[in-house]
């Protein structure tokens, strides 16, 4: 199939960006979206695809190309990771599009995720939220207690696992009209609050992580739920509810 692409081009953090039009041809339905961008870039490099303003190949983040590293991050036709539910951009395939279509491709837009170049943004704010408390304070040693010494009810273990599958991609922030990072932050808070290992630092963790989230410039949550709809790992809104309860509880205990 033949497609028209409208791609956000921006030289670096300080320059102004613009949408630039490219034509790609011979795209097959079995290609992944990123392989389609590879075709575009090869075309730009070889001169087969016209790149009037000489921007060169489109910069985009990607690595595993199987939906798990969380690196790929494109806003496609107004949706983070494009059409389809529970997929990352790298798992999106061209069979979802039709011949002659025009596709709009943009980077994540959020104050806390500044643009580095074209479609590449800086998401280190997420790392700093984890650094603020997204861990259990246990040192490495050869003599932690036996892994089976503490049985964990299967429901809790499974729910903790579901929350822990977040890939840190940032689609939730990109989807939210307030650029809130609640879904991401709550997934980690929920995982650790469901496990006995997370218990001792429960209050401090939620307070510190929420504080960091606010400092990074993410917006407030107004319960729209767009985050969970666009989340490639289908992280549930339940986690936000749980974090709110944890936060309330922590506030109560600390004011005691």
């Amino acid at each position: 199939m033949n497609l028209t692409l409208k791609v956000w081009r921006q030289q670096n953090a300080d320059s102004k960006g613009e949408m630039v039009t490219y034509k790609v041809s011979d795209i097959t339905p079995d290609m992944s979206f990123l392989e389609m961008i590879d075709v575009l870039n090869e075309g730009i490099l070889s001169g087969d695809i016209e790149d009037k303003q000489n921007y060169g190949p489109v910069a985009f983040d990607h690595d595993c190309r199987e939906g798990i590293c969380g690196m790929c991050s494109m806003y496609i036709n107004g949706e983070p990771h494009g059409p389809g539910r529970a997929v990352t951009t790298c798992q999106l395939h061209m069979r979802e599009f039709s011949d002659g279509e025009t596709i709009y491709i943009e980077p994540w837009r959020a104050k806390a995720f500044p643009i580095i170049k074209d479609l590449v943004t800086d998401r280190s704010a997420f790392d700093r939220i984890i650094q603020a408390g997204g861990y259990v304070s246990v040192n490495t040693s050869g003599n932690t207690q036996d892994a089976n010494a503490l049985p964990i009810p299967k429901e809790n273990a499974d729910a903790a696992f579901d929350a822990a599958t977040c890939i840190g991609c940032g689609a939730c922030v990109a989807a939210c009209k307030n650029s809130s990072a609640m879904l991401f932050t709550s997934a980690k808070v929920a995982q650790l609050s469901l496990l006995p290992q997370g218990e001792p630092e429960r209050e401090k963790r939620v307070m510190d992580m929420v504080k960091q989230m606010d400092e990074e410039g993410f917006g407030n949550c107004t319960n729209t739920g767009a985050c969970s709809v666009e989340c490639p790992k289908e992280i549930s809104l339940e986690n936000i509810a749980r974090m709110n309860r944890e936060f309330l509880r922590a506030n109560l205990t600390s004011s005691k």
Binding site: Q11, N12, T28, D30, M31, S32, L34, E35, D38, V39, E42, L45, S46, P57, D61, H62, D63, C64, R65, E66, G67, I68, C69, G70, M71, H93, R95, K117, D122, S124, F126, D127, I130, Q131, G134, Y135, V136, S137, V138, N139, T140, S141, G142, T144, Q145, A147, N148, P151, K154, A157, D158, A160, F161, A164, T165, I167, G168, Q191, L195, Q197
Partner: protein, 666 residues
């Protein structure tokens, strides 16, 4: 160069304990004055950085991705081994050790593998303490599954995302140390050179990938945890950014490169679908617990399937050839990876392959769905369940075990594996070869260490499933943090390493020159074009089976391709900016050397062992034929300029506890 592997004296099961009590330590006050650089934040790197920082060292951690959590360990699916014997099925440290040495076709060091098996149990304890949500049974205890090449259930897992969960555990430990200021993180940074001062590794040159700037970083020791080099084949299950450059730079600085030709081709990957293909996707080995592998018995049926005239589900049982069950009744679908891969290739080469290309076999869950459905119906106390009810229940059980893998398969291929068998084919997956290290995980360059997939140490000629995660975490949590002290004990009075020295200056200048040369080529061909060409040569001549003639031809072709690359590669943009094409070019330049060394190693090794199958050395039934008399050694290559001039040094493998046998899975 004389090799000393520093294997401790004493009986096998006491070596590690004795060694730990005898090696030198650095006291806490002195640790504060010692800096360590760790390249990589995968399982091996993140665990090492976190543990070293907890002990008191000052750590600088580097990764080329935007976050340490994105290292390729994140993609590991199936599980991690540990000799916990929770299932009470006769597992033990010795058995895990034995399986690993046997699975590796007797080409690994006994002492290292035994230590790995020994610390495996601590890993699970440590991860659980960190809050890693492993799969549990209804009693709340940890669940296990089986992997290829073994007859016990010792694999711990978190659905099909075990690597993700383990890495997030290590990442959280790392994050904790970053927040304490004990680890300084350099993301979107690539190490481009190792700097030696007085023969010791004393720092690195790193490139800030966002600005293109070069930076100097000094340290008392450098640890590589940079992953494997499977991407030399272009198509592999590795991430796009995975590369061999860190290890290759080390090699160029005098670190010996061991067994480069030992590559693992994984039997269960989604087949190639077109020339635009950028990577291959693994379907976890855990699927072979329940999936049965087959091709049609008759060529006509295979032909009809390829032309789309016949559906696999229409083919009756008696017309299917479950070739692994037929050839290897004792292990069946769970034979080790190298054996399963070659068997698939054999069937496809003989004309029984499916898919349009004829380069695929089936992995079928129909029997598992029935079996689980019946079990579940019994558990639920259903009387006379209908066929539909059984199928539905069975699908549910299968979904709970492999749901995300089935989903992944469907997203890529558009086929629903609950209804029709998956199609799979072998693909490059893992590299057993890597930097030579001694028992302390130090390379032949003093002060330069290598851990995880970047070293050669534990898997011999073939790695068993679920053992790479185990090795990465063993190295990073439990081995390196102790053994590095033995080396650093000499450095307590050294003081900070200055980066103003001539050595740093020279290293930086050389990188500038090399980059300039790449940019000046101004040719016509993109970096990917060269990478794809190299990959094809490697896959055809140094892939699942190899022969002398092909390997010689490949070496010549790679030399020509390399020369052409430096003349004619086309790199857009500038040096001082975010320029992924330039970064890729640097990595491919190294692959173009490493590929040749792999072929040389494969040519030199006149035997078949594990993943290395030389057509000249096979039995009448087509099984690998090892030569223990002449090849029970680790090949260690010393850099001498061109890869074809590399000098071979041998580390003889001594087996005191295991009797060398022909590997049989029949």
């Amino acid at each position: 160069m004389k090799l000393d592997s520093k294997i401790p004296e004493g009986p096998l099961d006491k070596k590690w304990t004795n060694h730990k009590s005898n090696i030198r330590l650095v006291n806490p006050a002195n640790k504060r004055n010692i800096d360590v650089i760790v390249i990589g934040t995968g399982l091996a790197g993140a665990s090492a950085s976190a543990s070293l920082a907890e002990m008191g060292y000052n750590v600088k951690a580097f990764c080329f991705q935007d976050s340490p959590r994105r290292a390729h360990s994140i993609a590991a699916q199936g599980g991690i081994n540990a000799a916990k014997n929770y299932q009470n099925d006769g597992d033990s440290v010795y058995r895990l050790f034995y399986d690993t040495v046997k699975g590796g076709d007797y080409r690994s060091r006994e002492a290292n593998v035994y230590r790995l098996a020994e610390v495996s149990t601590n890993i699970i304890d440590q991860c659980v303490a960190q809050g890693v949500p492993f799969a549990r049974d209804y009693g709340g205890l940890l669940d296990n599954r089986s992997f290829g090449g073994v007859q016990v259930s010792r694999t711990f897992y978190a659905k099909g995302q075990t690597g993700q969960q383990l890495l997030l555990g290590a990442y959280s430990a790392l994050s904790r140390q970053i927040s304490k200021g004990k680890v300084k993180l350099y993301n979107r940074h690539e190490m481009v050179e190792i700097v030696k001062v007085d023969g010791k590794a004393r720092g690195i040159i790193a490139k800030n990938l966002v600005t293109g700037e070069l930076e100097r970083h000094g340290a008392h020791a450098v640890v590589l945890a940079s992953g494997g080099y499977g991407n030399v084949f272009f198509l592999s299950t590795n991430a796009m950014g995975s590369n061999g450059s860190a290890a290759w730079k080390a090699h160029r600085q005098g670190a010996l490169f061991s067994n480069p030709c030992f590559t693992q081709i994984h039997p269960t990957c989604i087949p190639v679908s077109g020339t635009y293909q950028s990577k291959l996707t693994l379907m976890s080995e855990s699927l072979r617990n329940d999936g049965r592998i087959w091709v049609p018995k008759e060529k006509e049926d295979a032909e009809a399937i390829r032309q789309g005239k016949l559906k696999p589900t229409d083919l009756p049982e008696e017309k299917r050839d479950y070739y692994l069950e037929r050839r290897y009744p004792a292990f069946g679908n769970l034979v080790p990876r190298d054996v399963a891969s070659r068997a698939a290739k054999e069937r496809c080469d003989a004309g029984y392959g499916v898919n349009k290309t004829g380069q695929a076999v089936y992995l079928d869950f129909a029997s598992a769905i029935q079996r689980y459905g019946k079990e579940e119906a019994a558990v639920q106390g259903l009387k006379n369940p209908s066929a539909q009810e059984i199928t539905d229940l069975g699908k549910k059980v299968v979904a709970s075990k492999y749901g995300n893998l089935f989903q992944m398969y469907e997203k890529i291929t558009g086929d629903n594996p609950y209804q029709t068998p998956m199609m799979i084919f072998p693909a490059v997956h893992y590299t057993m070869g890597g930097l030579w290290v001694d028992y302390n995980l130090m390379t032949s360059v003093p002060g330069l260490f290598a851990t995880g997939e970047s070293n050669f140490s534990d898997h011999g000629a073939n790695r068993l499933g679920a053992s790479a995660l185990m090795q990465g975490l063993a190295d990073g949590y439990f081995v390196l943090p102790y053994t590095i002290g033995d080396y650093l004990a000499d450095d307590i009075r050294t003081g900070p390493i200055s980066t103003d020295s001539k050595e740093f200056e020279d290293a930086e200048n050389e990188i500038v020159e090399r980059t300039q040369k790449l940019m000046n080529a101004k040719g016509k061909h993109s970096v990917d074009e060269y990478h794809k060409k190299l990959g094809l040569i490697m896959w055809n001549e140094c892939g699942m089976s190899r022969n002398a003639e092909g390997l010689k031809k490949a070496m010549k072709e790679i030399q020509e391709l390399r020369a052409d690359f430096w003349e004619n590669v086309k790199i857009p943009g500038n040096i001082n900016e975010y320029n992924p094409e330039l970064d890729k070019a640097g990595r491919v330049a190294d692959f173009l050397e490493l590929g040749e060394l792999m072929c040389k190693d494969a040519l030199e090794r006149e035997e078949s062992a594990g993943g290395h199958f030389r057509e000249e050395h096979q039995t009448e039934e087509g099984e690998a034929k090892r030569d223990d008399e002449n090849y029970a050694f680790v090949s260690c290559w010393n850099y001498k300029g061109n890869p074809s001039d590399a000098e071979l040094i041998k580390e003889d493998l001594v087996f005191e506890n295991i009797e060398l046998k022909t590997r049989s899975y029949k």
